[in-house]
Symmetry: C2
Amino acid sequence: MDPEEFRRCGTDMVNYITDYMDTIRSRLPFPDVQPGFLREQIPDEAPFHGESWENVKNDLERVVMKGLNQWRSPHFHAFLPIASSFPALLGDMLAGAMISSPGTWTSNPVGTELEVSMMDWLAKMLQLPQQFLFSGGKGGGCIQASADDATFVAIISARAKVIKQFKDKTKGQVLDKLIAYTSEEAHSSVEKAAHLALVEIRCLETDDKFALRGTTLAAAIREDRKKGLIPFFVCATVGTTSTCAIDNISEIGPICEEEDLWLHIDAVYAGCACICPEYRPWINGVEYSTTFSINPHKWLHINPPCSAFWVKDQELINEPLSVDAMYLRVRSASNGVTMPDFRNWHVQLTRPFGALKMWFVFRMFGVHGLQERIRKDMAMAKEFEALVLADSRFEIVADVVSGLVCFRLKGDNAQNEKLLSMIDKSRRICITPSISRGIFYLRFCISVYTTESRDVVFAWEVIQHEADALLSS
Amino acid sequence: MDPEEFRRCGTDMVNYITDYMDTIRSRLPFPDVQPGFLREQIPDEAPFHGESWENVKNDLERVVMKGLNQWRSPHFHAFLPIASSFPALLGDMLAGAMISSPGTWTSNPVGTELEVSMMDWLAKMLQLPQQFLFSGGKGGGCIQASADDATFVAIISARAKVIKQFKDKTKGQVLDKLIAYTSEEAHSSVEKAAHLALVEIRCLETDDKFALRGTTLAAAIREDRKKGLIPFFVCATVGTTSTCAIDNISEIGPICEEEDLWLHIDAVYAGCACICPEYRPWINGVEYSTTFSINPHKWLHINPPCSAFWVKDQELINEPLSVDAMYLRVRSASNGVTMPDFRNWHVQLTRPFGALKMWFVFRMFGVHGLQERIRKDMAMAKEFEALVLADSRFEIVADVVSGLVCFRLKGDNAQNEKLLSMIDKSRRICITPSISRGIFYLRFCISVYTTESRDVVFAWEVIQHEADALLSS
């Protein structure tokens, strides 16, 4: 395909995407397919000779759309959001055409420096302490491939720091005694990061709002020190996946400082809302953290992957993540200014020019535009909560503080599981469940910008309709 | 931005990309900027109110192009290739509009199943043993976020397996004795993966072709067992980054089997060429490996990230990488067919719908089209080699078996470093150096499909011109 042919096919694709988004309301929010459905639909090996673009295009509806969860549908309320916006897509189109990896400054100078600037822009939007800014001192931020990567980088860097402190012991001897903490409501990726780092992790009890409190953490640390263990790492969550609970950072932070533990704050979803002054208090105490992470690809309209990750002192993560190879060595990075080589900030060497889409989105939305979107989602969640509260058969499971509403029938788990299964079968909306302290409930999330007030009402009508059928049967 | 506005802006971007690729020859292959250049060019915080698309578009040349390494330029011969093609870009455009993450089957059924099919298609193109195919038994493949991730997943899975074997010891006691092997010419990511996994790694000597041989590995294992260490993992390279050396898999494989070591084959670049029958012998012995990886984003015209990774037995990697969370549990994956939940194959939960661009590329190029591209690159490398050999001032450093030519002036390292610096200053071509056994040399790689025979001649003229100046000064 030469450039002129791309002009034609690319325009085709822009039109297909436009039409797709124009008609998104008419598509099933999740597909009616069973595992294995695809094998009958496509050949079992690649063609030897190339096919035309028209052939491929003709298969999009038959193959792709038929089996797709429509995360862009206004009726998709599952999980937590994954963002996508047209400005971000434009940025990714250009990045995909240029493919210039900012693994080192020399391999893509503008990719590196735009990432430096965008991480500082976003840090300012969040009112992060100066230490987290490139322009503020020893800290800075980068785009990680995922929040899982962010947590993993935090924990292995904390591990490196503590192993260094025990010079008289082997790494294995230290490792056998290390203990990390998070809450029982934390995301599965925290436990996964600990597994990968080969360290034990305790998932601590939360309060009646599903939040981790300082007293609980302090007691666990005391208990473990008595056992001869070495507490070294805490992952606090601002906005848990199940209920959007906010751990109490103001209590947890000072304890981490006093006990010399590395505090990582996982604020992937709710942290995005902290660009609004009224929600910023959620991360009060962030100055006690060593590393901090939000996912702009959740609620700031930037396509994934875009996990923003900051550290107070670059050296703390660069040292455990650096390897030197001649073919990577810097050629020209010197005239008094030092720019980061982002390969030393994470696992990957080749990495996308991800700052481009951030730049597009921050400029085309503006801070105000992003704030308004968040406020609109919050308001719609409140609308949904009011609808639930007005129906005495239902109850709200957790405070509604974000775009997420957790609710259930005032009945047993089996009844709620049955209700979910009936809603699923209707295929009119897509929601997902969770379970906390043995209680099974349904989660309704404002997941996508296509959702409007009328869709909230529609979703509630679907749920009520299925509840009517269930309770009268 | 509503869909209709995207129709306009998206078409704008398609035109910009087309014009960019149409004029790529006229752009400097790498930019004339110094670290810190960007700070003067853009504001130091995000705008409060949104800007127009036209504003952003007007900054593309001034800001982005000014500081970009032009990896798409026919005169870019640095590192190893990172692929980009129009068919892949079309796939990424659509994936970016839909944003549907195949972290689990239920979160994106077609994304999951198309990945299953594409990994099988590619395995067949490479003539991998049946065990690596989903349709062949217990194995299968997935897209990793990078080759670094692939190696990391391999080593931590091998680590989990061996820790399980020593049930009478703590994990720390086992860890302190674990030893992994690779060659001194292996990619830096192998050493990095070992660091992250907290295991020791020995970088073994290579033969006169920079390849790891069986006898060297066997001797190291014997030596380490005598010391009481526990050998557990070998990473062999098919196509090293410095010289594209091919480790001898046929020798290494049987040793790994006999000694019960996990063999991972890192074939990121040269492995792509194994879709051509004439290069397939490079991976003879692959049946001895437990995990195997190539980067289609290097030489199969698929935009990054696309690191293909296969394992003989899914359980070997799923067990150490699985965590269970209610909000991730499978709802409907059951009617006799089991499809993978790819979140259990790697670090990331949210992951791109990467199979789409593979499907586009495999269909629109066809196997034959991809083979012909590789053969063309090989032929151009041979042309360049002939030019070097015809100039008695130069020597070839390693056998030219791929698109990479390693060469140097028959002089000392300082002279070659000086030559590189002069070539850099000319800014007419971009090449990068490496060093093996203390010898500094220059690397010329056919990196991008825009490069033609005349560009090879041009590059050699630039190099000769600078060499003339250097040697006459």
